[in-house]
């Protein structure tokens, strides 16, 4: 007996023009526990950037679903991903966020492992009078079944039975390229990690990243400040990039952007931003056009919010952010956030990027708090009720087409579906891609 029926949770009837999600997906703790097992521990999940362990024996720690993991580079430069738990009695081997070590000695009984995860010593093994059964066991750190890298972005899966990473990422690799190719040396994380929690389901963040509809409603207090700063142009105030774009302005005319959705649950929403000095990338605009062609360069300047299902979000708008979603409970989520930036940009461009980032993205800034408070208010409204179906996944259903459009063609990208929109369309149909991928990963427990 499967515990849940898909048709009770996601009402996906394209022939009738219906796509609806049940509030239970945000609220139900039993469903959440199954999500951790099947969505986060049953398929590809983003685990970090290769630059977080750049040198031999560098490591950083993280979680893959509920499982603590270590990502470490060995002496030869090979990156590996292990479970951060000692085979002896399960103690978490490494407690620090990051570091450099050739050997890891377990704090409990001193079993020792090298930077490739191999067991190097079991304290007093000979004197331990182990029976033969013990010698037959593998005493190394458990490796995570699948581990792969695409251009410095690291993904892992505890389940071995998954498509290749290339297939999982599919066409979104071209969107990752847009970020990485901004510099010949690739990207890096600006030092300083900002973590916050909110008391609502992880899917609120999943959706909000690509929710163009909320921007002018949730953030008018911030938009007013942008307007004011744009008028004043005094040196001391933090300048802003999105103030200069009109993809979000209600009176903008013509195509201002749109959405694309991809297989395996990845989505993009994007908006046209001019190639202008409002973005820190401008110092390389000419060089980027020569290296990559004008079309790809122009796409590097567009506003882009990319979600790689289920936990990575790369937001390129006011600045550039890498967000990692870590679900804690049905009604609690932890967000790990970083400023991600092209290597080797000028000091001026870097500080411009950082200043905009802080004001917009931080939980101590002027925009994100208004989002997270809305997530929490949504969670309160997710209580069980007679009308369980949300009406928040319907905009754009009438505009969504199979395949791409002129804009995706420019960079040879082939999304599964796309919507081309004016400033007020604000597609919500792209979220369907999340829930279809969610249902695929949950297939074993959904009838």
């Amino acid at each position: 007996m499967k515990p849940f029926a898909l048709r009770d949770l996601v009402d996906d009837r394209p022939q009738d023009g219906v796509f609806r999600v049940n509030r239970a997906l945000f609220r139900d703790q039993a469903l959440f526990d199954l999500e951790m097992k099947h969505v986060f521990e049953g398929g590809w999940v983003f685990v970090g950037l290769a630059t977080q362990a750049e040198n031999p024996h560098d490591y950083f720690t993280n979680f893959l679903g509920r499982v603590p993991i270590i990502i470490q580079r060995d002496g030869e430069g090979t990156l590996r991903c292990f479970v951060n738990a000692c085979p002896h009695k399960g103690v978490r081997l490494l407690q620090k966020l990051c570091g450099n070590a050739r050997r890891h000695v377990c704090p409990y009984h001193s079993w020792t492992f090298d930077s490739a995860g191999a067991n190097k010593n079991i304290k007093w093994q000979k004197a331990g009078r182990y029976a033969p059964g013990f010698d037959e066991e593998n005493h190394d750190l458990a490796t995570v079944a699948k581990f792969g890298e695409y251009r410095g972005f690291l993904f892992a899966s505890l389940n071995a039975d998954v498509p290749s990473l290339e297939e999982h990422l599919g066409e979104t690799r071209k969107l990752i390229d847009l970020i990485v190719d901004k510099s010949p040396d690739g990207v890096e994380l600006v030092p300083g990690r900002v973590v916050f929690t909110y008391a609502a389901n992880w899917k609120m963040q999943l959706e909000n990243c690509s929710d163009q509809y909320h921007f002018t409603s949730t953030h008018p207090s911030y938009i007013r400040i942008l307007d004011q700063r744009a008028k004043e142009q005094v040196n001391e105030v933090v300048q802003s990039s999105i103030g200069a774009a009109d993809f979000w302005q209600e009176d903008a005319s013509g195509v201002t952007g749109g959405t694309m959705s991809f297989d395996h649950g990845h989505v993009l929403n994007w908006g046209i931003m001019p190639v202008s000095s409002a973005l820190p990338e401008f110092e390389r605009a000419e060089q980027l056009a020569q290296l990559h062609g004008v079309a790809k360069r122009n796409w590097m300047f567009n506003m882009r919010n990319l979600t790689i299902f289920p936990n990575l979000q790369l937001a390129e708008n006011a600045s550039s952010q890498m967000r990692v979603i870590r679900p804690i409970a049905a009604g609690m989520t932890e967000m790990q956030t970083w400023c991600i930036a092209p290597r080797g940009e000028s000091a001026q461009a870097r500080s411009f990027r950082i200043r905009q980032y802080e004001d917009f993205f931080n939980p101590t800034g002027m925009a994100t708090p208004d989002d997270t408070v809305c997530y929490e208010e949504a969670q309160i409204g997710m209580a069980e009720q007679d009308r369980p179906w949300l009406q928040g996944h319907a905009r754009g259903l009438g505009a969504s087409i199979e395949g791409g459009n002129d804009w995706s063609d420019m960079i040879g990208m082939k999304p599964a579906r796309s919507v081309l929109s004016d400033a007020q369309l604000c597609d919500e149909s792209l979220f369907g891609s999340y829930y279809r991928a969610w249902a695929q990963r949950m297939a074993g427990v959904l009838s």
Partner: protein, 165 residues
């Protein structure tokens, strides 16, 4: 008189805290010089904070009181849901130590504990850490030329604004 006793400095910090506790932002802003630094560094890893705000991320970084005025404007705008039901706050400041930093500047180190009651969710949070103030005498009055907030518990529950630290 360009020196400040620890007791005077403590009174000065308590007055700043009182303005914030009362959410009385105009006199709070008036304590700052126009070109003030207001800085809350982020944490790089388990043990170190970011040090160079132009190359590393901060939780908040402003040079210029004008930016703090923007923050206050947003809080008061009526268009920020995060500021619609204002939290109730109480600052406790202690361990005040002063040091003459020369050129009419006094450096004041202190510890803070801010209790924030989020009325909207009926939850209370405590934020704590250290302040580093630099005070200067302007027309006979002490003003804040620089305030660094070293927040120790930096995992932010939902949101944190300037009045909460």
């Amino acid at each position: 008189m360009t020196s400040l006793t620890s007791a005077d400095a403590a009174t000065f910090l308590a007055r700043e805290a009182l303005h914030l506790d009362r959410l009385d932002f105009d006199p709070w802003l008036a304590l700052y010089t126009p070109d003030c630094l207001f800085w809350m560094p982020a944490w790089r890893d388990d043990g170190t904070q970011t040090e160079d705000p132009d190359r590393e991320l901060s939780l908040i970084f402003y040079r210029g009181r004008r930016n703090l005025e923007d923050r206050v404007q947003r809080i008061r705008s009526g268009f920020s849901v995060a500021s619609a039901v204002m939290p109730r706050v109480a600052h406790m400041i202690g361990n005040v130590v002063t040091q003459d930093a020369g050129e009419g500047t006094v450096r004041v180190d202190s510890s803070f504990l801010t209790n924030v009651h989020d009325v909207r969710t009926n939850k209370s949070h405590a934020y704590f850490g250290r302040y580093e103030h630099e005070l200067v005498l302007v027309d006979g009055e002490w003003k804040i030329a620089s305030k660094i907030i070293r927040l120790m518990n930096d995992v932010v529950p939902t949101m944190l604004d300037v009045y909460g630290v």
